[in-house]
């Protein structure tokens, strides 16, 4: 009888430990997702400035500029609708459109020389990187969270205690970012 009680107690303590660890991870995942959100908002705020400052010079690229503005509007509405898959798809399009715009500005020496555009470009690169890195961090955490739920003894209780797998922040299949990035090492 005593042995049974001890074993029971050990199991209870053990389940409590699993529960606490999973709760901890779940909150970390939620926090990491908020960080991506913050960076996405920053990008929305940055885009009108950028478009305005390059508009005059890039008269012949109205299609590209138009695409950027549309993609931003689409991503913002998807974000407020709260559908994660939709948001990811739209954000992927926005990233793509912005990437094209940045590549095109390389052809305009006047733009490259302008101090304010240079500052904006740095700001944009920074934001793009922040989005990328916060996504990377989020995905690492999600992987850890999901693995923790799926390993053997934990998987018995995880679903019972109301945990479910979190979604990775992935880019849609056709996204340009999926290609292996080329590293430019020349200065």
């Amino acid at each position: 009888m005593k042995i049974l009680a001890v074993v029971l107690l050990a199991v209870v303590v053990w389940v409590v430990m699993i529960f606490n660890k999973l709760v901890n991870l779940r909150n970390q995942v939620a926090n990491a997702f908020k960080q991506i959100d913050v960076q996405l908002k920053r990008r929305y705020d940055l885009i009108p400035n950028l478009v305005n400052s390059v508009k005059g010079e890039m008269k012949f690229e109205t299609a590209t500029l138009e695409k950027v503005i549309q993609a931003r509007a689409a991503a913002m509405s998807a974000g407020s609708a709260g559908n994660l898959n939709e948001l990811m798809a739209k954000e992927g399009m926005l990233t793509q459109a912005l990437g094209k715009l940045i590549a095109l500005t390389e052809n305009y020496p006047n733009l490259k020389a302008s101090e304010s555009v240079k500052a904006l470009m740095e700001e944009l690169t920074h934001t793009e990187n922040q989005i990328g890195f916060s996504r990377q961090f989020y995905n690492d955490l999600v992987t850890k969270f999901n693995t923790e739920q799926q390993v053997f003894p934990n998987n018995v209780f995880a679903a019972m205690m109301g945990f479910s797998a979190a979604a990775l922040f992935e880019l849609p299949q056709d996204s340009k970012e999926r290609e292996v990035p080329k590293v430019e090492l020349a200065v």
């Binding site: 960076q39 740095e122 890195f133 961090f137």
Partner: protein
């Protein structure tokens, strides 16, 4: 080995190192007590006339190991001091100043630091700039909360954004792995051992003769140690050797950890940026700038991304380089990173 295993390994190594240092402190302190202050806890008690004029149990040896206590206190004090003030001392000695967002390159540096903090999920460390034209960078602080990443002006000038990111990621990994804390403490303990060894060595000279003859007061009061003459002499010589070699051994130990940490920081820095080749090209540039970093003195060498002395020991891949350098040879670091990039590429394709 993934990052968690490596962190666990680092922690084990930290404890092992601390253990060796404590053993050194105890050995130097106890030896000093035994040979100079007549601290012999195992001796049987004797009777003698005390000051008041009657028989009493007189402690045959001096009861308190002053030398050991002093050695441990010096070690502890220096370690605590470097933990508390190390950050400020390093920043002052290198004349570092805060990076300002008004300057174009420094804003980029600030941004890169923020990005790497995001990638590692830590608070952004403070960003400092060292006014020196050589290419170097270091991290300091004792925990991720109060850490600092500093780079030289020359580094900001000659690295592009990706390379700067790689260097900052390397420093961020030092912070994430608690390397600065270990290295700060190890450097302080190394200094304490050098100091103690010097003290013990200096105290030795005037009293050298008393070893065999046993000075008059000691013979009358205890007299217990004249029996084992030769054995005592051998033990004394062994202790002397230890005292003389302790600074060297502790230095070799600290350098070994330092090199290990550099490899680890290279690897986990590349894990943060997912771009090992950028660090390769940054290291190539740093290596080609051969002038020593004058603003950074030797005491900070083990915290830098490359040896600030610009010494040729870095470039040799022999026994000396393996034992005495703070950093592994650049060739080996670059090779390790290139292997990493190659593997990542193959995984990406396959």
């Amino acid at each position: 080995m993934n990052i968690y295993e490596q962190q666990a390994r680092n922690r084990r190594m930290t404890w092992a190192v601390m253990f060796v240092f404590v053993v050194f402190f105890l050995a130097i302190g106890l030896g000093f007590d035994f040979f100079y202050l007549r601290f012999t806890p195992l001796k049987t008690l004797g009777y003698g006339w005390n000051a008041a004029g009657y028989y009493d149990v007189s402690a045959a040896s001096q009861p308190v190991p002053f030398g050991t206590i002093a050695a441990l206190l010096i070690g502890l004090g220096m370690a605590a001091n470097s933990m508390l003030n190390g950050r400020g001392m390093v920043l002052r000695s290198t004349l570092a100043r805060r990076a300002v967002s008004a300057d174009e390159k420094e804003r980029q540096f600030l941004n890169v630091v923020a990005e790497m903090a995001t990638a590692s999920g830590l608070q952004p460390p403070e960003a400092y700039v060292v006014p020196d034209q050589d290419l170097n960078a270091f991290a300091t602080g004792t925990s991720p909360r109060n850490s600092v990443i500093a780079v030289t002006e020359g580094l900001l000038k000659s690295l592009n954004r990706e390379e700067l990111q790689a260097v900052v990621a390397h420093e961020m990994s030092h912070i994430r792995n608690y390397d600065m804390r270990l290295m700060t403490v190890a450097a302080a303990l190394m200094g304490a051992i050098a100091l103690l060894s010097d003290l013990a060595g200096r105290t030795m000279r005037p009293r050298y003769g008393s070893l065999y003859g046993r000075a008059v007061p000691s013979r009358s009061s205890s007299g217990g140690r004249k029996g084992g003459g030769i054995a005592m002499l051998l033990i004394f010589i062994a202790w002397l050797l230890l005292v003389v070699l302790a600074p060297l051994i502790s230095r070799l130990l600290a350098m070994a950890i330092s090199r290990e940490r550099e490899y680890l920081a290279d690897a986990s820095g590349a894990e943060l940026t997912r771009n090992p080749l950028a660090l390769v090209s940054a290291l190539e540039k740093i290596r080609n700038a051969v002038t020593p970093t004058y603003a950074i003195n030797n005491g900070v060498a083990h915290m830098c991304i490359a040896d600030p002395r610009g010494s040729l020991i870095e470039e040799k891949m022999g026994l000396a380089a393996d034992l005495f350098a703070t950093h592994p040879p650049m060739e080996k670091r670059i090779l390790a990173l290139k292997v990493m990039a190659y593997q990542a590429e193959r995984q990406g394709r396959g």
